[in-house]
């Protein structure tokens, strides 16, 4: 029997999808990049960062949580959408403590790489300068909440892959912050381990493995050599090979 492949159209390009796939799934499988920070292949999509917003007709939707449906005509790589994405990236920058030169993640940070991809030259909005707690209690893992972009990836990775449920997000609005599921609320008293996906998935420098910073010289770090578009598509093909 012949398999009927439904298709969607992204920026004029016809892309096949299978039932149950989101627009993001279908796009990445066809090696079409839709900017994203809170999406990670294999984890339940969340839809919180909104960088993957695409237009279907007059409506905007987040590609990572919107099911692909036959005949959808989707705009993705447009200047209006990329401008909005740049504003959203700037929002994430001003909300937190993102001083790249002083951060161990610099060069390997997805937020930074998103800024590069979208041509962000300044942060545009006034900064919030919120004071958020650092948790250095764990011998091997550091949690700097100031840099957290509330993407929820560590929460999902811990719950879905590590089966540990180490993290949660608490608080409302700009008070939202990452909390640790342990008797003291400290990372040292949780069962997180450096090999856990949750300890390594952080797109920014909020969760870092200690004593590894600045080991790779400038010029050889991930985003010295690649764009986030390349790594975003790469992540997906790695995931596909795992399946």
């Amino acid at each position: 029997m012949q398999t009927i492949h439904d298709t969607i159209i992204i920026d004029g390009q016809e892309i096949p999808f299978t039932k149950g796939q989101t627009i993001m799934d279908a796009a990445l499988a066809a090696r079409v990049y839709i900017p994203h920070l809170c999406h990670y292949p294999g984890l339940t999509p969340s839809g919180n960062c909104r960088l993957c917003t695409v237009d279907i007709g007059s409506k905007s939707v987040a590609a990572c949580i919107t099911p692909a449906a036959a005949g959808q005509e989707i705009s993705n790589n447009t200047s209006a959408l990329n401008d909005a994405r740049k504003s959203i990236t700037q929002m994430l920058f001003v909300e937190g403590d993102h001083i790249c030169p002083s951060c161990e993640k610099t060069g390997n940070c997805k937020l930074q790489a998103m800024g590069y991809y979208l041509g962000m030259l300044d942060e545009h909005f006034p900064q919030f300068y919120q004071h958020r707690e650092v948790d250095a209690s764990h011998a091997r893992i550091l949690l700097d909440r100031g840099r957290c972009i509330l993407c929820d990836l560590c929460v999902r990775a811990s719950r879905e892959v590590d089966k540990k449920n180490v993290f949660a997000i608490a608080g409302r609005g700009t008070e939202a912050h990452l909390i640790v599921n342990s008797s003291t609320g400290k990372l040292a008293d949780s069962n997180i381990e450096p090999g856990d996906l949750a300890a390594n998935i952080c797109p920014v420098g909020a969760i870092l493995i200690k004593e590894q910073g600045y080991q790779v010289p400038i010029g050889q770090r991930i985003y010295d050599q690649h764009t986030i578009q390349e790594t975003g598509l790469q992540e997906n093909s790695v995931k596909k090979n795992d399946d």
């Binding site: 001083i99 790249c100 030169p101 610099t106 060069g107 041509g119 030259l121 300044d122 900064q127 919120q130």
Partner: protein, 180 residues
Amino acid sequence: MTKPRIKIATTSLAGCFGCHMSFLDMDERLVTLFERVEFNCSPFTDIKQCEPCDIGLIEGGVCNAENVQVLRTFRANCTTLIAVGACAINGGVPAMRNYFDLQDCLREVYLTGTGVTNPQIPNDIELPLLLDKVYPVSGVVPIDYYLPGCPPSADEFLQMLEPLLTGKKPLLQKLHLHYD
């Protein structure tokens, strides 16, 4: 007759002069550049008063009242004002104090910190008064262009300046963009 040279002024506010050092990394290319530009008020020349200039390069963020005055003078005198480097653009490393209360910072540095002798918070009127936070320069005056990096490389300075010298709009290539 030689064309009049483009006048450039530079300064460092709450910065480390690293951007200035990086500018000098142009090395032999500086020679060609000087055929077209001259430096006015700048640590390169030691000229203290900013005269009307074509381009102003601002390194560093705004941490005190004096920074505000210098920045305003630059804005008033420079046709094109460029925020250079992480500190000018978002406060950079000096802005790491922004996550703490100013009083706590001063108390620790001048009163209670290790190794403090003769503890007192300086209050001489000769000293510029600190702002509660270190601000990006764009928060105080309008900025025309941004040159990110900590520091921006000599190549990037040239990428920014060369179009301006011929009256064109500079456009940084995304490929060269970096915030560190």
